[in-house]
């Protein structure tokens, strides 16, 4: 891993952000809603509408609007929400911090469950345990989040009343209450990823188990425990980094639905609210924040992989 490689990765993140910004801006331009009407509401007079259009520069050519938006965005100014009148950037950052908490907890839970599950299935390949985990993981990857969320909500919050149904409490306010509110969203987000990642861990592990060096390790008479821990695990788990990084994209999508259902005011819910309210500045900022998050996550994964797997030479 060289500085050149790192610079290149950073350049790619920047390029990604640029492409996404163009795309998102273009899409928001064709959204069927008048920004001025959205801003002023139903009671706006034509004069007021015209004044607002002028003030927002809605009469400028689109490329000029994009340029103004981009240059302002680079300084951290994403404009004011048309819905609430608040500045968008701090709103999105607060939302992002909540989503990241949800995402990180989900990934941790997922890893804690998926990795042992996948290993276990791989070591018992073809046996009952493997088939049962396989079947469960099929169900896991085949249920959309909104179904899982609804089922979990009914069972855990309504019937058993173990957990609060929805809402969000900042960890700083009441840590345990905060965690209790996060359990259901985290569970929902994790289900699909657990199913997916445990399958990947299983197949990676099986590949490693069939590799020459594991055969060599066994033929050197090493203890099975040491073969598993020192040789199999390390090599089987490395690709999981990449898989998890790819799943971040899926995770961000899933967060949209999950936050909506559990009333968790994160970036996904902000986006849904913004899209339904045609709150253009919020849509633009939210989509961009998501794309940046994804690009940064996959870059971090690449770096982690490069640090952990010394084989990779980036030249």
């Amino acid at each position: 891993m060289s500085t050149g490689w790192l610079l290149r990765r950073l350049f790619l993140v920047a390029y990604t952000v640029l492409v996404v910004s163009v795309l998102v801006f273009a899409i928001t331009q064709v959204l069927p809603a008048d920004a001025a009407v959205t801003l002023l509401g139903e009671n706006a007079t034509p004069e007021a509408l015209a004044a607002v259009r002028d003030r927002l520069g809605l009469n400028d050519p689109i490329w000029l609007q994009y340029w103004h938006w981009l240059t302002a965005a680079l300084t951290g100014d994403f404009g004011h929400s048309m819905r609430t009148g608040q500045p968008v950037a701090p709103m999105m950052l607060t939302a992002l911090s909540r989503s990241l908490l949800l995402a990180l907890l989900s990934i941790l839970l997922m890893l804690a469950v998926a990795v042992p599950l996948g290993l276990w299935a791989a070591l018992r390949q073809g046996k009952a345990a493997d088939l049962v985990t396989g079947f469960i993981s099929y169900i896991g990857v085949s249920l959309p989040e909104f179904v899982t969320a609804t089922l979990l909500l009914i069972v855990l919050a309504d019937w058993l009343q173990w957990l609060p149904a929805t809402g969000y409490v900042p960890p700083g306010e009441d840590f345990w209450d905060s965690m209790a509110h996060l359990v259901l969203p985290v569970l929902t987000v994790s289900v699909i990823m657990v199913a997916h990642v445990s399958r990947m861990v299983r197949s990676e592990t099986i590949d490693v188990l069939h590799s020459d060096y594991i055969r060599a390790a066994r033929l050197k008479g090493l203890a099975p425990r040491s073969v598993l821990l020192r040789h199999v695990l390390r090599n089987a788990l490395l690709p999981v980094i990449t898989i998890v990084a790819l799943d971040v994209g899926y995770l961000l999508g899933g967060i949209i639905v999950v936050e909506e259902i559990f009333a968790l005011p994160g970036i996904g819910r902000q986006l849904i609210v913004a899209i339904t309210a045609r709150d253009l500045p919020a849509i633009q900022a939210g989509a961009l924040v998501m794309a940046v998050t994804y690009a940064v996550a996959s870059t971090l994964a690449d770096i982690a992989y490069a640090l952990l797997d010394r084989r990779i030479r980036y030249d």
């Binding site: 249920l143 961000l252 949209i256």
Partner: protein, 276 residues
């Protein structure tokens, strides 16, 4: 081909997946004819009727027969998911194969943009697109197809790069074959296998994505018996009449499972693991 089918049906995933899909295909073809009732007919007295002799899977908030809606709805759910995936695959396959064939600077440029688009989560991209295009099943299909394109382009490209490195492609290049011949005759047939596997698994995602879009109110229009929309509409009554939500939710799950199973079965059938 028959050989592949035989191998597919020998894998447990392939066998179960194929069986389920045959059932679903029948439902798509004959569902509306076989449905016991008019899926849109409302019935004041039948509202929230539990599953029983009159309505085998119960009736919904407007007294419509859930089974009939489920059977009719297969046609508006599965073919569109398939269509979306196929469109996305086609576009992705063309971009990916082209990128791999062109190589070098072009490949780099195409793939950087594909990567950039992939940074927008698929669901978000679909949401934005449907919001712009307007609601409706066809627009949702289009949006999902577009959202799938970059991913499929990536997959196809990596397969195509693999194929391009094969000596028979080099031989064709050295022979001076036309680009179209190399892409269409030498590369594409060999790219198809792995891409078909990926596509099959993506149909499962498309079914789920469709349902999610409808759930968020951006897919099918009421009173269409689209499964995702059925779930969304039934959500308000989940405590009163859980069967209204369970039936379409399970149908979505079973369809997704069927395509996942078929995809894995195909994968195994295409590259049999060694016996060891």
């Amino acid at each position: 081909m028959t050989d592949l089918l035989r191998r597919l049906l020998r894998t447990p995933q392939g066998a179960i997946g194929s069986a389920l899909l045959v059932l679903l295909a029948l439902l798509c073809l004959l569902g509306p004819e076989l449905a016991p009732r008019d899926p849109e007919a409302i019935d004041f007295l039948g509202r929230f009727r539990p599953p029983g002799a009159q309505n085998w899977l119960g009736a919904d908030q407007l007294g419509r027969d859930v089974l009939s809606r489920l059977m009719t709805g297969a046609r508006s759910t599965i073919p569109l998911a398939l269509l979306a995936t196929l469109l996305g695959t086609l576009a992705g396959a063309v971009i990916g194969t082209l990128s791999a064939y062109l190589g070098g600077r072009w490949d780099e440029a195409i793939m950087r943009n594909v990567d950039a688009v992939m940074a927008i989560p698929g669901l978000l991209l679909a949401l934005l697109l449907v919001s712009s295009l307007g609601k409706g099943s066809l627009n949702a299909t289009l949006a999902i197809a577009i959202a799938f394109t970059p991913g499929m382009a990536r997959v196809t490209r990596s397969v195509a790069l693999n194929v391009r490195a094969q000596d028979y492609v080099k031989a064709a290049l050295a022979r001076g074959e036309r680009a179209s011949f190399i892409v269409l005759r030498e590369m594409l047939p060999n790219v198809v296998g792995p891409v078909v596997v990926e596509t099959t698994i993506r149909v499962a995602f498309a079914v789920m994505l469709f349902a999610t879009l409808s759930f968020l109110g951006l897919g099918a229009q009421p009173p269409a018996p689209e499964w995702g929309l059925m779930v969304a509409e039934a959500r308000r009554f989940v405590h009163q009449a859980p069967w209204i939500i369970l039936a379409p939710a399970l149908a979505i799950g079973v369809t997704a499972i069927a395509f996942n199973l078929l995809g894995d079965g195909l994968r195994d059938a295409l590259n049999p693991r060694d016996e060891r």
